[in-house]
Amino acid sequence: MANDILLKIEGLRASVEDKEILKGVDLVIRKGEIHAVMGPNGAGKSTLSAVLAGKPQFTVTAGSIEFLGQDLLAMSPEERAWAGIFLSFQYPVEIPGVTITNFMKTAVNAHRAGKGLEPLKAGDFLKLMREKMAFVQMKPEFAKREVNVGFSGGEKKRNEIFQMAMLDPTLAILDETDSGLDVDALRIVANGVNALHTPEKAAIVITHYQRLLDYIVPDVVHVLKDGKIVKTAGKELVAEIEEKGYDNL
């Protein structure tokens, strides 16, 4: 059904500093689906996530992206966030001097302003913070820390999922969320993602390895190689990749 379509990517080509990374990507994601994008290093996985989120350093040279019927490529990164896109970064950025509370307050109220709503009342905001921090098992001191400064690998990824929970996106893109995580942190992160998933939402899980997909089970699996999707199948493809490697697909 056409109105179930959340995201539609057609013939997408993108480059960075005149080097073409994505060489014609087609992808359709429907409500309720979890898609895994797997592939070897340098295949263009992170470029795909950066282009979806609107990173200015990447240039789209051809193709289109529609999100809920809107032309995503015409939107700024913040407009994409307001529309319901969230990118969990592979390498979350440290922002010295800006506390998590201040950062999230600005973000939540920007989303509200984008929808024509008044800023959240201080009490309601703090309640929301506490609830979502507990959700990813963050201690109360976490709110006062500077964004990602001095965070361990696991804390950084939990902070990403915390922000995702705060902003409640329709499409979550998880870029190598498993990298640098021990098993406990991986479980917290995966449980978080699963708990936030509903039939109205979708997720793209970008990963090199099978590990994360043992916890977040995809409906559809794509293999991205040299800037193109070379294979699409169900979750059984994950085991096949693990067995044969990317070279023999």
Partner: protein, 206 residues
């Protein structure tokens, strides 16, 4: 008590002598539109004296901001700290000159000086010249100076969370000068100063 000075157009010259066991603390604030020539001469003239000098400047037009600080350590066991942070936009020009002079007798001196700058435009210019002149041998002294731009990776990260580019820049700039403003002891005064800087910074972010 910390002296908070909103610097006005023109010259500001100050000589300060700090006596034994005393502490001098001063915060210099330069808001957009102000062109000034600041000369400070601080002398730690008594054993065990201390001086902390802070400064924040924000320029968005054609301002000329000159700051020169001489910090004299004459006697042993004195401490000084200098932290100057500023933002230069438009076609403004900032000159920072800071010198720490540690006399031969001033053993066990601790003296630190930092000057950090953000350039917002290609037309703005910052010159910074930190200097050390040390004649004693048992001292801890350091100085550092940087000139940088607003970090675009930080901006993209914030924008991907729905924070507008303008708000992202304001957050970056406010957090940049916060280490200076947080030295204002009186809470009400500090909040007022932060609000003043925030509104002038917001104008620059547009």
């Amino acid at each position: 008590m910390t002296e908070v000075i909103f610097v006005q157009d023109g010259q500001l010259s100050r000589s300060i002598e700090v006596q034994s066991g005393e502490k001098a603390e001063m915060i210099l604030l330069v808001l957009p539109g102000v062109s000034c020539d600041i000369k400070l001469d601080v002398r730690l003239a008594g054993e065990g004296s201390e001086a902390n000098i802070y400064g924040a400047y924000v320029c968005g037009g054609q301002e000329r901001v000159k700051i020169a600080v001489d910090m004299h350590h004459d006697l042993p066991h004195c401490n000084s700290r200098q932290l100057f942070k500023g933002i230069a936009g438009g076609t403004s020009k900032v000159d920072f000159y800071g010198k720490i002079i540690v006399a031969k007798d001033a053993q066990r001196t601790e003296a630190y000086q930092e000057n950090h700058n953000i350039l917002l435009t290609d037309g703005a210019k910052v010159d910074t010249k930190p200097q050390l002149e040390i004649y004693a041998d048992d001292v801890k002294c350091s100085h550092g100076a940087t000139i940088g731009r607003l970090n675009e990776e930080e901006q993209f990260y914030m924008r991907s969370r729905g924070i507008t580019l303008e708000d992202a820049k304001v957050l970056q700039m406010i957090s940049f000068i916060a280490p200076v403003l947080e030295n204002i002891e009186d809470e009400a005064e500090r909040e007022l100063v932060v609000a003043q800087f925030e509104s002038s910074i917001r104008n620059l972010a547009r």
